[in-house]
């Protein structure tokens, strides 16, 4: 169960090998989270994430095969997880790919792949999760969105559009779950320095997986519905969303 201070005792991560998710789990486990289920593509990274959760001291750690694009099987995969492990307090939606804008712009199928993984696939999985959480009468969904979805930039509009879709979907889902005992928190980090962005020049106000994890844990504690990391981005983007398009498209990067 989730306690009065918001601490979960069990967590399911969709996209279990995500660096940010790993950092979140590392903070939750010492704060009483005993069960960690990492759903993701079977890979050495997923096993490494499981081992780090074990090292943090979780009692039950399992990995489950989960493919974001395999929408046909989402209901069954998610259903099995809840059957097998019982109630899940917190579900972190962390799966996602960055893609390669320059290549994908000229490879429509690859672009559609990014959109499917980051948006359509996760939307399908989240609906399956939402059904189970609604049934159990409580729970919390944490969705890793991005400020890239707030206004698409020419430099990464395919990724940005996928996050815009995910973000809008999560807002709607949050409203739809109102009163069911289930709540949704949307996390909008800026440029996260890490594996996904290795080799890229950081955008202004960069952050780290640890900082995102800290913000997520604090957000859970304070009952936030939207969290920006770093927090300053909330105001930066309030301005940037209103910039005239002529200026917006000339911004570097």
């Amino acid at each position: 169960m989730i306690d009065a201070i918001g601490r979960p005792q069990s967590v399911l991560v969709l996209g279990g090998s995500s660096e940010i998710a790993q950092a979140i789990v590392a903070k939750l486990v010492p704060a009483r989270c005993r069960t960690v289920i990492l759903a993701g593509r079977d890979s050495p990274r997923l096993l490494a994430a499981a081992e780090s959760a074990a090292a943090a001291g979780a009692d039950t750690i399992e990995t489950v095969d989960f493919e974001a694009t395999d929408v046909e099987h989402h209901a069954a995969v998610i259903g099995n997880i809840f059957e097998q492990f019982g109630d899940i307090d917190l579900v972190v939606v962390a799966a996602g790919v960055l893609g390669d804008q320059d290549v994908d712009e000229h490879d429509p199928a690859a672009a559609a792949g990014v959109l499917t993984t980051n948006f359509a696939g996760l939307a399908s999985a989240m609906l399956a999760v939402a059904d189970r959480l609604r049934h159990q009468g409580y729970g919390r969904l944490v969705v890793l969105s991005s400020v890239a979805g707030l206004r698409a930039r020419k430099a990464n509009f395919i990724y940005g559009a996928s996050k815009a879709g995910l973000d809008a979907f999560s807002q709607g889902l949050a409203d739809s779950l109102h009163g069911s005992g289930v709540s949704v928190m949307i996390v909008r980090p800026g440029f996260v320095v890490g594996r996904m962005t290795s080799g890229m020049a950081p955008a202004p106000l960069p952050t780290t997986p640890e900082a995102v994890a800290e913000a997520v844990v604090r957000g859970i504690e304070s009952g936030a519905s939207v969290v920006y990391v770093p927090p300053l981005l909330r105001w930066a983007f309030a301005v940037m969303r209103t910039l005239p398009s002529g200026i917006w498209r000339r911004l570097p990067g």
């Binding site: 009065a4 990995t63 159990q136 409580y138 005992g181 009952g223």
Partner: protein, 497 residues
């Protein structure tokens, strides 16, 4: 769900934290309760158990059952039998202590134990084995219960301390996880009037108030101290101590003595209701500090035998409707613990921690308990108990309270489940070493683990409880250990830490 009509509702405890949705069923007749058990069992798609709920005054998640069935027992409010000669009354479990006082105080009988609010049901009072300002004299609520009807998944039972002491005392403080109480018989205490003669005095610091309580409490039926947790240094723990006894008619002032009906009257009123939930942060160190200063200064330095009406003496906060809203949208929690008499130093260390952090705690309340009753999960035991209201939302509240748990545990103490909303399963099991006995009784009356609550799930009391093949009698199971998980499916990999 088949059976009696239910409605999906979002529920919290009095602290307004950790909401969860459940199907709520209003039991209007005791027979509805076994029917609810049958309905729950007959729906294979939704076997998330059942818990009773009264007036929702437990601070945490005791009367919630996420995704399951919650039996609202407040309509089981009939008065079944009255013996005014001996003060024995049999009432439905949904009758509130307020109703008991309104009806029986004018007839010369008062409830044997009342907490800081009248808005609790008899069923809830038993399930939490509540205590009051008279614990050092009269013990806790269940010591005054002579029998009850308990509906369990394995049948309806008439339970008394003599007929089935294990089940009776497992139900006392068992937080509803041994069955649904539908009625109970109470031994009331005789009173002549609805007034008390109260002595009030200020104490300069913690040593002063503790010394006064140790030396003087035995002379009073009721005793409690309010502590200013924000004072520090030489004034750490400055307090207002109020103690009193029921007033006889001849002890009251003339105007009341000449009008015995008025001297026995009990008409509680809600003076004002908090209409909406204000934004968080209204109760901050500044406002609470100002209140604490005011409360301390307003108390007379020393006043003897002043007549106070029961409502003001026992239940001052009941005059303000929905006062729990004042803590804002994130809600609040109450941390209440007890430690043995010789561990008074722990009380000091807790107050020092709070004082150092300048956390806004309203009305910290200190009191001395007498010996506990035999309930394995009953909270009171001889010693000091301190209760602190704390707003949720302050960063690091979690760490602070975990630290306080360690202090309390090291002193052999425990926290009160009716107030708890955040203790860990391991901490809880260590605080209640007789948990194994309690679990054995629960398995006897509820072998399939059908009685469930959010509190029970959080503390690992009712997770996947399955009938064990052949449990050795009185075998103590590692209490906080989770039930074995099913084997991983082939598509999954298990990693052992």
């Amino acid at each position: 769900m088949a059976g009696p009509p239910t409605r999906r509702e979002l529920l919290t405890g009095w602290g307004r934290t950790a909401p969860s949705a459940a199907d709520v069923l209003h039991a209007v007749h005791p027979d509805d309760v076994p029917q609810a058990f049958a309905a729950e069992a007959s729906d294979p798609a939704n076997q998330r158990g059942l818990i009773a709920r009264g007036l929702g005054r437990s601070y945490g998640d005791a009367a919630q059952n996420a995704g399951g069935l919650v039996v609202d027992a407040t309509w089981l409010d009939a008065v079944h039998q009255i013996d005014l000669t001996h003060g024995l009354i049999t009432v439905g479990a949904g009758v509130s202590l307020e109703t008991l006082m309104e009806r029986f105080v004018p007839l010369g009988w008062f409830v044997p134990v009342t907490p800081g609010t009248r808005m609790v049901t008899v069923g809830g009072a038993i399930a939490a084995d509540i205590h009051g300002k008279n614990h050092h004299r009269d013990g806790s609520f269940c010591s005054h219960v002579t029998r009850m009807t308990l509906v369990t998944p394995t049948g309806t039972r008439e339970v008394s301390p003599g007929s089935d002491p294990d089940l009776f005392w497992a139900t006392a403080g068992g937080m509803g996880l041994t069955g649904v109480i539908t009625d109970a018989t109470l031994q009331m205490i005789p009173v002549e009037t609805s007034y008390l003669l109260v002595d009030t005095e200020r104490a300069a610091d913690l040593d002063d108030v503790m010394a006064k309580m140790v030396s003087g409490d035995d002379g009073y039926r009721y005793s409690v101290a309010w502590i200013d947790c924000q004072s520090s240094g030489s004034r750490l723990g400055r307090s207002v101590l109020t103690r009193g006894d029921h007033a006889r008619l001849d002890q009251l002032p003339d105007r009341l003595r000449r009008d015995p009906d008025r001297a026995r009257a009990f008409h509680p009123r809600t003076l004002v209701t908090v209409p909406v939930t204000p934004p968080g942060g209204l109760l901050n160190p500044l406002t609470v500090g100002a209140f604490n200063e005011f409360w301390f200064r307003k108390a007379p330095k020393h006043q003897m035998a002043k007549p106070h009406h029961m409502t003001g003496f026992f239940h001052p906060l009941d005059g303000v409707g929905s006062w729990n809203r004042l803590y804002g949208p994130r809600g609040f929690l109450q941390y209440q613990f007890v430690v043995a008499d010789e561990e008074g130093e722990t009380v000091r260390r807790v107050i020092e921690r709070l004082s150092a952090l300048k956390l806004a705690s309203f009305l910290a309340v200190l009191k001395r308990f007498g010996p506990g009753d035999p309930g394995p999960l009953s909270f009171p035991m001889a010693g000091w108990t301190l209760a602190l209201d704390l707003p949720v939302g302050y960063h690091r509240l979690d760490g602070l309270l975990d630290e306080l748990d360690q202090l309390v545990l090291a002193a052999g103490g425990r926290v009160y489940l009716a107030k708890d909303s955040r203790v860990s399963p391991e901490g809880f099991a260590a605080m209640y070493p007789r948990l194994g006995e309690w679990l054995a009784v629960r398995r006897r009356v509820d072998p399939d683990g059908r009685l469930r609550s959010d509190l029970g799930r959080r503390l690992g009391l009712c997770q996947d409880v399955r009938p064990e093949p052949a449990p050795a009698p009185k075998k103590k199971r590692a209490p906080a250990k989770r039930a074995a998980r099913p084997k991983a499916k082939p598509s999954t990999e298990r990693i052992t830490p």
